[in-house]
Symmetry: C2
């Protein structure tokens, strides 16, 4: 008998989290309120406080679960797959509300008195995984340190999406991510690997050899 109740709790939590993401994405942290989030989720106050202690707690959950549920492009792990992931994230940032809100809160977290690099570190870990595969495939230059480069990529990506958001509401983000790779790859990939890599926007998920 415990199972259906648990399933329902999971669904309720997910509905509240999604509603919170929508409200944070539209209004930011200070414009959002627990009552707006409860109304948007069509949940009860009791359910809300069962899962989340406060607006801060909700914001932290949205921030740190920003990458969950994203369907990543298929592909063999390695540099091309890493490029495809970053291009895919650029389009997700235009439409995926949990990712958008999570990124917004991670960037603006100073505004609600939080200093938490979990979201940054999780992206660094995901990028690092691809770089380790790229190393195994002989795609990286000998002087590349996979861990350092993962930080550099997360840093550059964070700033790229922020500048693009402020300038164009992220309309030009895929082009800017492709541009970033154009300038980074010569310090990252072997000439042989570079000759094979596709970095243009729209490359993600397209067939290639």
């Amino acid at each position: 008998m415990a199972r259906p109740r648990q399933d329902r709790a999971v669904r309720t939590r997910a509905a509240i989290l999604h509603a919170a993401a929508e409200v944070f994405d539209e209004l930011g942290f200070s414009g959002a309120s627990v009552s707006k989030i409860i109304a948007r989720a069509d949940a009860t106050q009791g359910a809300m406080y069962f899962h989340f202690k406060s607006k801060e707690d909700l914001a932290r959950a949205v921030m740190n679960e920003q990458g969950e549920g994203i369907v990543m492009p298929e592909g063999e792990p390695g540099l091309q797959h890493l490029i495809d992931i970053t291009l895919h994230l650029a389009t997700e940032l235009q439409s995926n509300v949990l990712l958008r809100a999570g990124v917004r809160l991670a960037v603006e977290q100073g505004e609600f008195g939080v200093q938490d690099d979990t979201a940054y570190q999780e992206w660094a870990a995901r990028f690092h995984e691809q770089l380790v595969a790229a190393r195994d495939r002989g795609e990286l230059l000998p002087e590349v340190n996979e861990r350092e480069l993962a930080w550099v990529l997360v840093s550059c990506y964070t700033g790229t999406q922020l500048f693009s958001q402020v300038s164009t509401n992220r309309a030009d983000l895929p082009e800017r991510v492709a541009l970033l790779w154009r300038y980074l790859l010569p310090g990252v990939a072997t000439p042989e690997a570079r000759a094979r890599l596709v970095t243009g926007p729209g490359a993600a998920g397209t067939a290639r050899r």
Copy 2:
């Protein structure tokens, strides 16, 4: 007779702006209040509203004047000077309150309903100036587009300082900026120029040939 009054007005505006930067740097936009800023500046409400219409107006001024008054390292325009500027800004971001607050507000501007890329564009223009000089000196690879690269640099720098701030309160920012250059330079500078460039933290302002 107009001159001394004008000088005083300029000084009063500067004092209010500096006080606003301190308060925004400590408390962020939503934590700051006009009354706290007036008290910190030791100014009158009349003087404050003569120069700035509102807290939003003050925030915009701090954001868009963030780079003013920074004493940049000396040097011939070009790639080394650009690197020195970015390393110098990394240490300024640890202590210069107008720059710190301006960058914080530029990053968190969504929180107060602003979408204004002036600050980003101004840094891009400053970086572009150095890249044009670098091109004249033959330091850039033929495939580099100075304007695009200036955007890429501002993007990467913005994210680097943000990740460093969230992770270490910017304690490791100079090292992270040096690291960024290590990965970017192969796609930017000719091998001859790269052999001469110094990117380590602490390089800014030191004598070199």
